[in-house]
């Protein structure tokens, strides 16, 4: 009987722990958002493979598939407030990468800013 009670107690403790975990999924600023390549869950899992494939095609062969280019991702997913996918803690790329503790080094070289905004700023 005591064993059964202790199991129940452990189970009771587990439920709130699970509940807090699901509520801690990062809230992101998805910018304009929308689904242009594949559905969001697939993209969460596989976007890095698309980007790696795309980068080799572009750099070595000059095949610029605009649909899966990093620039095109940024075009829709940059925040509508600051035109960036990396500027804030809840920015599109930063929020998830920080949650998953995956280093995000694309933007050491690549611009995280929407191109139209960059052009507007740099043509002045």
């Amino acid at each position: 009987m005591l064993r059964l009670l202790s199991i129940l107690a452990v189970l009771c403790l587990c439920i709130p722990a699970y509940a807090t975990e699901s509520s801690a999924i990062p809230k992101l600023d998805i910018g304009k958002g929308g689904e242009c390549v594949k559905e969001p869950q697939w993209m969460r899992k596989n976007h890095m493979h698309l980007l790696t494939h795309q980068r080799d095609e572009v750099v070595h062969k000059g095949v610029r598939d605009d649909k899966i280019s990093l620039k095109n991702c940024i075009e829709c997913h940059a925040s509508t407030k600051d035109d960036s996918v990396i500027a804030r803690d809840d920015s599109f790329c930063v929020a998830c990468h920080r949650y998953e503790a995956v280093k995000l080094d694309c933007f050491e070289c690549h611009s995280g800013e929407r191109k139209s905004a960059w052009l507007k700023r740099n043509s002045k």
């Binding site: 980068r55 750099v59 000059g62 620039k71 050491e108 070289c109 740099n122």
Partner: protein, 236 residues
Amino acid sequence: MSEINVQRRQFLKMSMGVAAVSIAPGIFLFDMAHGKADANKVRWGMLIETANCAEGCNDCVTACNTENGLSGGVSSTDSQWIRKIEIKDISTGRETSLPMMCQHCEHPPCVDVCPTGASFKRADGIVLVDKHLCIGCRYCMMACPYKARSFVHEPLQNQNPDVPRGRGTVESCTMCVHRIDQGQQPACAVACPNKSILFGNLNDPDSEIATRIRTVASAQVRADLGLNPGVRYQGL
């Protein structure tokens, strides 16, 4: 030497001879170089008319800096993709001004020395650095006889979305590959006020650049190295 061995040697010689001539009709093991470029394959190149290149004019350099987001030499370690140089023939006193940048060699020494395969030549003849693979060892900078490459020493911000650049990698003139892929001309060729930089497909016999290099004398810088640069100079 025994009789059998002599026959064996003759047989081998004869069969090698036959094999050398042809493996099948029309297919040869050894073939003479035809000495003509493959017209179907694009090879981007430039012809620079040094007679029109004005001394003191820096427009190509400025255009390159703006297009590719270079600082233009604010600090001593900043990248430089194209530079203007003034040369003087000591015996005659003739002075020439010309832009110098990556010469986009057919046989690039930077590609030969790269330990990671980051330095590579595209199918259309443009020599690039794949910065995803570059480890910043700078062997290519030492190998380049034109001193065309720069190393990025400091972290960068506010890059052009079309021209990713970052610390720890080597970079050089890309012939504005992002513009070429969109059917545009390199920024320096567009910016030159004297139309001294002619850009085009060297392999297309009807292109303006191919016609020009066929009809006027042009030279490659350090042609003795046999690298066959894609950038040629007229009046050097």
